[in-house]
Amino acid sequence: MGAITLEKVTKSFGDVDVIHPLDLRIEDGEFVVFVGPSGCGKSTLLRLIAGLEDTSSGRIVIDGADATDVPPAKRGLAMVFQSYALYPHMTVRKNIAFPMRMAGLDKAEQNRRIEAAAAALNLTDYLDRRPGQLSGGQRQRVAIGRAIVREPAAFLFDEPLSNLDAALRVGMRLEISELHTRLKTTMVYVTHDQVEAMTMADKIVVLSAGRIEQVGSPLDLYREPRNLFVAGFIGSPKMNLLTGAAAAERGATTIGIRPEHIAASPDTGPWRGIVGVSEHLGSDTFFHVRIEGRDEPITVRADGEVSLHHGDTIYLTPDENRIHRFGPDGLRLA
């Protein structure tokens, strides 16, 4: 009911190619996250799927039917915008009812769906308020409610959580994930936050400069990043990337090792360094360690109780099985 296929889709604004020829298959019921830095074309890609932008070339197929030239309203997709795009002069009830009113649904059915959506999203008490009287999280839920009542083939989310404060964001993240398990509808979600991508996605699409860098499940991307870009982008804190002697002796141009795959010890280990800034999170401590002959500090995760301080000498032991090796072209070596 909600399989979306992109075939050689491109988009250019004037002379600028925003999306380079791109193929992607989104299966029915999947939660797909587009993630990438600002300006990588992830929002444009979503808008192409929604039909808010025309493709420059290529085909968009929704449920087996060519939807490239179908107007947005007829594609059976619902979108949640970054600014929520609620209609400020309408009450919450009317906001949620609007797509059904446009579709000409009868009143009883409209009310049934509104009540159901409001109950699911904890909005029942706010139905007669206007968006201006709601908090950010409530507005977000109204926007989702407006999308749900259309019973769309797929939901499109355009950075829906970026206007919320950190605590609310974690809560809404869970709510959207729960919604997905309950509705089992395809969801396409755009974010620049790789934590959101890792926690919510069935499938992550990493984009950079209008190209797909890698497609895969969160753990695939974490375990086997296809290239340097994905290696640096997925994971928090970022993977340490080392060039020079350490890479050469492992037969690579660049090697990557995640902070959590380096053991820190006060007395033994192959790499010796000086502790710089240390970030204590309680459960973990992240040390930024300076190693002689390297400009970039290496980030190391240690247990929260390890007591090493600024200026102390530290010895690091990388887990050899979890070192990622990259060739001169930035691609992963087998």
């Binding site: 309203a73 619902a78 979108m79 915008f81 795009a85 002069h89 609007f98 446009m102 201006g132």
Partner: protein
């Protein structure tokens, strides 16, 4: 204004202008009220005896009075309809990206900078004149009888002229309102299945409601006292077909030199303006609440 000292200073600083403005308003108002109760005709010098409501009686029973009130309201209403509807359409047009947008926008504003007497004269002599006017020429070129606008449709012609002057104002305010509409809202409506007309009806129009209210209120203030256009084109005629309240007061106090009667008319004009204001605020004032 946090401290007592700064509040006192602020009041002291503001008081000259407040006193000046109050005097500016209250003294003429008080004098008008005072004159309206006197028999005060410039052609009959001598005592100006107190005559109570005699001036009001004469003013209200004047055969031109009812026509003038109706004409005033028709003029205000007509111009409002033309400028608001036309302003919305023009604003929608100007909001589209097009070549030469900057120049077109300046051209659209231009009529507002032409002074009323000049624009009325231009309309009267260059467009509406049945012999030399452009409209007469156009009518003749397709074989029609030229229409003498100011003789046969004086009020409608004046509504046309005044609308032409006020259309830019409405367009400009409505255009800025249109430009402040969040494009994501329109896109959301599009995704929700709203076609162009539904988007206009449910998104654009409610969004512009406040700006439309402002246009209506400001224009009403100025349109109630339209005078120059009437003086220059029709002199209130033929008969009193295009006489509004302002022109009637002018005719009585300055053409008949009856200051008392004119003042009574002025007081009535103030009352009429307030009645209109109350009705307007009742009807559309809630749009101004955030």
């Amino acid at each position: 204004m946090a401290t007592k000292a700064s509040r006192t200073a602020a009041r002291a600083m503001m008081s000259p202008s407040v006193i000046l403005l109050l005097g500016w308003m209250l003294i003429p108002l008080a004098l008008t009220l005072y004159f309206s109760f006197l028999r005060y005709n410039l052609l009959m010098p001598g005592g100006n005896p107190f005559v109570g409501l005699e001036n009001y009686e004469y003013f209200f029973t004047d055969p031109a009075f009812q026509t003038a009130v109706v004409n005033t309201l028709l003029l205000v209403g007509g111009v409002l309809v033309v400028t608001v509807v036309g302003g919305i359409l023009l604003a929608l047009l100007l909001d589209q990206a097009m070549w030469g947008q900057g120049i077109v926008r300046i051209l659209v504003i231009a009529p507002f900078f032409v002074m009323p007497t000049v624009s009325a004269l231009v309309w009267k002599n260059m467009f509406m004149n049945p012999v030399n006017g452009l409209f007469a020429y156009l009518a003749q070129s397709v074989g029609l009888e030229p229409f003498d606008f100011l003789a046969h449709a004086p009020l409608a012609s004046i509504i046309g002229i005044v609308s032409w002057q006020w259309l830019p104002f409405a367009t400009l305010i409505l255009l800025t309102a249109l430009q402040s509409l969040d494009s994501e809202q329109l896109e959301a409506a599009e995704m929700d299945g709203a076609g162009p007309f539904a988007r206009f009806r449910f998104m654009v129009l409610p969004h512009m409601a406040r700006a439309i209210t402002v246009v209506i209120l400001i224009e009403t203030i100025f349109l109630l006292s339209i005078f120059a256009e009437i003086l220059v084109t029709t002199n209130g005629g033929p008969g009193n077909a295009s006489t509004n309240l302002t022109y009637l007061i002018y005719a009585q106090s300055l053409l008949q030199f009856d200051v008392g009667l004119g003042s009574a008319g002025g007081v009535f004009a103030i009352i009429l303006a307030n009645i209109v204001a109350i009705f307007l605020m009742r009807m559309i004032g809630r749009n101004l609440d955030a």
